[in-house]
Symmetry: C2
Subunit: 195 residues, 2 copies
């Protein structure tokens, strides 16, 4: 049976890493940056445009610093990813991280939507260790990054990012990465009646 | 090892029922209405006061329809339950539903906080079947009840009811009651290293 797991995540929660491990455990493909490449193929937009405008909506909210052709490009990137996500989900079972995949696939059967969060002190630790953030500035940078994710999500969907009732399962990664993977895999098996 | 599971839940989500089944599966006590009785014992307040003011804060938000001695009684009920929850959590492993137990026990080790939600159509079905709500008025009544729960929770805590990052695990009961119980029990075992 074909099924899709979408993962939304707070910055520094380990959500991407957990998603990759869940995909590996279930033996299905994982899409994150790969998705951008996939989207580029059919859209006619250059990879540089994707790098610049991926999951960005600054101009929509700040009201400054982004010209109208930039906004148009942001939307083109979103729409190209929208199409790519639909094609991927149509083709095979997979895990897709970010990019409003839950909303894009809202009318597709056998999709389950997961959100991963973490306490601020653990997000700081992870962001410093894995993304090289300055320990003193990490907290404010994490808040800013999540504000952008929330803005991007709430702009393109009619839902509220990080609100429990939007998702099938939300898990706090303070449980530990491998424990989270176990809980999610168990959840997916219950959800889709996998052995 | 002693551990406590707190459960917050949307009205009609089946959260109370799931909590009871989780407690039964784990072989630990379950506290909901029992908690009120427990709280009454030491507080000197009559059971009638508890019935009237339990998880109610109307006056705080409507600004009308409740006199100051009512507000004072609401707070006394809250504080009596606060003490009772602390005593119960100190005594034994258990499941506690509602009443801001997650907030009351925020500094206690080995507590995990779970939130249970459900799609509106399933909450209506359940509220009509189990609580006898009028099918035509059920949706607005459910919204009102959850607004009160959110108000009660947000008033007494510095947290936001139903926001994923406040909890260790949030689960949508559209998965099915028994499947939810399995996922939660699995989660609790991962969390507390139970066999």
């Amino acid at each position: 049976m074909k099924y899709v797991i979408t993962i939304g995540r707070e910055y520094g929660s380990g959500g991407r890493f957990i998603g990759k491990k869940v995909a590996d455990t279930l033996g299905i493909p994982f899409y994150d940056n790969e998705l951008i490449t996939e989207a580029c193929k059919d859209s006619g937009l250059s990879p540089a445009v994707f790098e610049t405008f991926d999951e960005k909506t600054d101009g929509f909210f700040s009201g400054a610093g982004m010209y109208s052709y930039d906004i148009s490009l942001s939307q083109k990137v979103f729409l190209a990813q929208f199409d790519a996500i639909k094609k991927i989900a149509d083709k095979e079972s997979c895990v897709i991280v970010g990019r409003c995949a839950d909303y894009v696939l809202r009318d597709v059967p056998n999709v389950c939507n997961i959100f991963i969060c973490a306490p601020m002190e653990e997000k700081i630790k992870r962001a410093v260790e894995f993304y090289g953030l300055n320990p003193e500035k990490a907290a404010s940078q994490i808040i800013k990054k999540d504000k952008k994710r929330k803005g991007y999500y709430n702009f393109y969907t009619d839902l509220d990012w990080g609100k429990a009732s939007n998702y099938d399962l939300c898990i706090n990664s303070k449980l530990g990465i491998d424990n989270c993977v176990n809980v999610i895999v168990n959840f997916v098996k219950e959800r889709f009646n996998l052995e």
